[in-house]
Symmetry: C2
Subunit: 230 residues, 2 copies
DNA sequence: CGTTCATTTGACTTTGTTCAACCCACGTGG
DNA sequence: CCACGTGGGTTGAACAAAGTCAAATGAACG
């Protein structure tokens, strides 16, 4: 008999205080850069696939998405980055990122300085250990996303919403009423459905009294029922 | 204009000399373990989800698969591990693995000792950097697998076969004729189809003269045509 | 030689996409 | 202030395609 630990604890979005804190460079600008905090407006890129990435960033406000364009031309959304999330870890091992990161709305990020505080911790520097754990989480998230792909469309949207609600809750916001930062197309693309299908499911859930939907403002009226959809 | 680097270079299986070599513990047994090399027979587990994982292993023969069982009971295949692949890196950051790893057939692995040679390399120890790059590769593989999920069933199988062929080729084997180590069910599960569908596609490709299929012995008769299927 | 399990094949059903029209909010310019 | 155009979102109907169920075939092994 084994403890069959499942990854269900890790959602489609990062959980509470998502990743261990690194050294935020709040007062002093990092390594001679002009401003510590970088503000991005809707549609602006933090970096693009192939760019050199010199810092790891933490989201300090707003939401970003990372994606990539396949050679067949279609876009694949890798994930959304909420408040507190770390961005750019993947690039560390390779120098350049394989993903592009863009702001969904006005967002800001703060570079995280890469200096190693404790050099002799069991797993080399504390930083490396943290990056490990970040990438680990990322792998689980993708595995979960992959699993989502094998369930029905209603289940996908339900999971998306519940996970998003949980992420909101972790950040101190209302878990039953929130604003979705991404458009239907992005949402649909992320969970692997056609936008029309997503729209239909929203309507269906609204009609069943489980949700209230007006544009991107969502209210979950019945968490239990939503969970049952999955 | 950006260099839109895509991850297509990384396949569904690890490429040549998949991951940077660590210190193999060939002569001396690692940390007082009986034999360095561990042999597993078909169906035997290297470890299970939740187990403490003390070593990183490298596949020295055979093929293994890593998977996990979701709470709804269905199995999700995370990946197959071929000769030279590293197993267990994910566990390093967390102590225990979230995945189970089982041998598809008789297989052997050699533990990789975790001692840090150069402590002051730009990115802390060499080891950490290597593990980074391993996990990075893993993230890309999952992203690619996710992308696969959005294409038609024929394309999925075609990609699977071509990638497997490439992996074989990298290891010095024939890229046009090989033996698939996993059953249809596992194959289907991995690429997200029903076993019957996989069977049908095999037949279709056979009838079109692109493949020769007898049980798990595959011969690719027309690489170009197979590529066109995608 | 017979049992068992995996794979294949066929017929049918379900379901999500596609295509198209429509609605609505918003911004522009007359 | 209102007409207009645009883009995102919703809805409807028809189609295509993969899954499911069930049966047949084939391979492996005692």
């Amino acid at each position: 008999m084994h403890a069959t630990m499942n990854i269900e604890s890790t959602g489609l979005f990062s959980a509470v205080e998502p990743y261990p804190r690194l050294n935020e460079s709040t007062p002093e600008p990092p390594r001679g850069h002009p401003g510590a905090r970088r503000v991005l407006h809707r549609g602006q890129h933090l970096f693009r696939s192939g760019d050199q990435v010199t810092h790891v960033y933490r989201v300090s406000s707003g939401v970003l998405k990372s994606y990539l364009i396949h050679q067949d031309g279609d876009e694949q959304i890798i994930g959304f980055h909420l408040l507190g999330d770390l961005i750019g870890c993947d690039a560390l091992a390779g120098g350049s990122s394989a993903f592009s990161v863009v702001a969904l709305d006005t967002a800001s990020v703060t570079p995280v300085t890469i200096d190693t505080p404790g050099f002799h911790s069991p797993f080399n520097s504390e930083l490396d250990h943290q990056i490990h754990s970040y990438m680990r989480t990322e792998i689980f998230r993708l595995a979960r996303l992959l699993h989502l792909e094998r369930s029905g469309p209603d289940a996908r949207l339900a999971r998306f919403l519940l996970d998003y609600a949980a992420a909101q809750s972790c950040r101190g916001y209302n878990r039953s009423e929130f604003h979705l930062p991404m458009g239907r197309k992005d949402l649909a693309c992320y969970i692997g459905l056609a936008p029309e299908t997503v729209s239909r499911i929203f309507s269906r859930l609204r009609d069943r009294g489980i949700l209230s939907v007006e544009n991107n403002h969502i209210r979950i009226l019945d968490h239990a029922a939503l969970r049952d959809v999955m």
